[in-house]
């Protein structure tokens, strides 16, 4: 366990427990929880509230046959599912989002690379690779962005972010993350809106690069 200092906001843990987070954010939360005991415990607490809500739910009688149906099915064969395990620097939920493949890095210039894991209408998820000393080009945000460090560290105007740390940035944050000395910084980044990379690509090219 690394010591993390930047955690998932409580409202996101609650939304994750309830299953209402956009998929890209949910992968970041599941990844951080895999790395952070504090947030795992906090998620457990939210699930306990959910359990209390379930306990207090108005009961609705089930049909007569349901119980015997279920009891009859207890011996039916089923395919056990196992959560993917960590692979190197990539925790299980990232391995799952990568569908088990190695990263396919595409260069963005200045040594910065990305691998888009998925882009959906409610958000996108990608890996970022930033060489030491290199800045991720300044970008504004249309919505919310979560950046979780998987290797190395970066610093920006708000502080330093090491392995397991999550930076939460919204429209109001103009920041310039710079990878610290040492290993290249590899991050998992989720947004709920397309990014605007000012230094790299004119807006018109965005659909092409899907950034």
């Amino acid at each position: 366990m690394s010591v993390t200092h930047h955690h998932i906001p409580d409202s996101m843990l609650a939304a994750y427990a309830a299953g209402t987070l956009p998929q890209a954010f949910a992968v970041v939360v599941a990844t951080h929880v895999s790395m952070c005991s504090l947030c795992r415990a906090a998620l457990g607490a939210h699930e306990a509230v959910g359990g209390a809500v379930l306990e207090l739910q108005d009961q609705v009688a089930v049909s007569d046959g349901l119980k015997s149906n279920v009891l009859d099915l207890l011996d039916a064969p089923f395919a056990p599912t196992t959560a993917p395990a960590r692979n190197g620097i990539y925790p299980g939920p990232v391995v799952e989002a990568m569908k088990g493949r190695a990263p396919r890095w595409k260069t963005l210039g200045m040594g910065v690379r990305q691998d888009i894991l998925f882009g959906q209408k409610d958000g996108s998820l990608r890996l970022l690779y930033i060489p030491p000393g290199q800045a991720v080009p300044d970008h504004g945000h249309n919505g919310l962005e979560l950046t979780l460090v998987l290797q190395g560290s970066f610093s920006d105007e708000t502080g330093q972010f090491g392995v397991g740390d999550v930076e939460v940035a919204d429209e109001t944050l103009e920041h310039t993350p710079v990878a610290d000395a040492g290993d290249p910084c590899i991050c998992l980044a989720a947004t709920d809106a397309p990014l605007r990379f000012r230094a790299l690509a004119p807006r018109l090219l965005q659909p092409l690069f899907r950034i």
Binding site: A14, T31, S37, L38, L43, A52, L56
Partner: protein, 216 residues
């Protein structure tokens, strides 16, 4: 916010919580030493997990299936489809019973996340990504005081929910039934979530205990 803070005394008048020898278990439990003070639900769940006890499973069904049906319908799944979801959740409880760890989660909390997962599967294309699983060493001795503490917290949370005013309780229910976005939850400044701090500490103690031998 203090609305969900635990009461000084555990709630009285819940006869279902004094299980003693009323459980349906036919065989002597492994956890006899701590069993008399555990809730019925936990005893049933541990019998399902450890003895594959079908009578205990039937008792879990009787307790949870009607609540799950209400929960699923309230979450926006049509009544016609709701029993399918209830059936899937109950089967998952049976099949994944080995993942139930009463040191970390009370039965209703564990079933809650199974139910939410199943509903997410039904309602959208992608399943919910899940954290890596933590597994206890097979030889780990049950820690009765931790299990009881988790149960007591669950009782206090439930009792605290019943003491909220209607408006606050409605917001909590909406949040955990999946009717609010994270932004809406975050905007609910009156939402008494701060409350679960002691529950977080409890979980953290256990995790520290389990993880102390793990290297980064």
């Amino acid at each position: 916010m203090t609305a969900l803070d635990p009461p000084d005394n555990p709630p009285d008048g819940d006869p279902g919580r004094r299980p003693a020898a009323r459980g349906p278990r036919r065989t002597a439990p492994d956890h006899a030493a701590c069993a008399p003070t555990l809730s019925r639900e936990t005893q049933w769940m541990m019998a399902v997990r450890d003895q594959r006890d079908r009578t205990a499973f039937a008792a879990l069904f009787d307790h949870f299936a009607p609540r799950l049906k209400g929960f699923v319908i309230r979450s926006g799944i049509p009544a016609a489809k709701a029993e399918e979801v209830v059936q899937d959740v109950m089967l998952t409880i049976w099949r994944k019973a080995d993942q139930f760890d009463p040191h970390r989660a009370q039965v209703s909390a564990w079933i809650y996340q199974i139910a939410r997962n199943r509903q997410i599967d039904v309602m959208r294309r992608d399943g919910r990504p899940m954290p890596e699983e933590l597994r206890e060493d097979p030889g780990t001795e049950p820690d009765a005081s931790q299990i009881l503490a988790v149960e007591q917290e669950a009782r206090q949370l439930k009792s605290a929910l019943t003491r909220l005013n209607a408006e606050q309780r409605d917001v909590i229910e909406k949040a955990y039934l999946g009717e609010l976005s994270h932004q809406q939850i975050s905007d609910q400044t009156g939402l008494p979530l701060g409350t679960i701090k002691s529950r977080i500490r409890l979980g953290l103690n256990r995790l520290r205990h389990e993880l102390k031998d793990l290297k980064p």
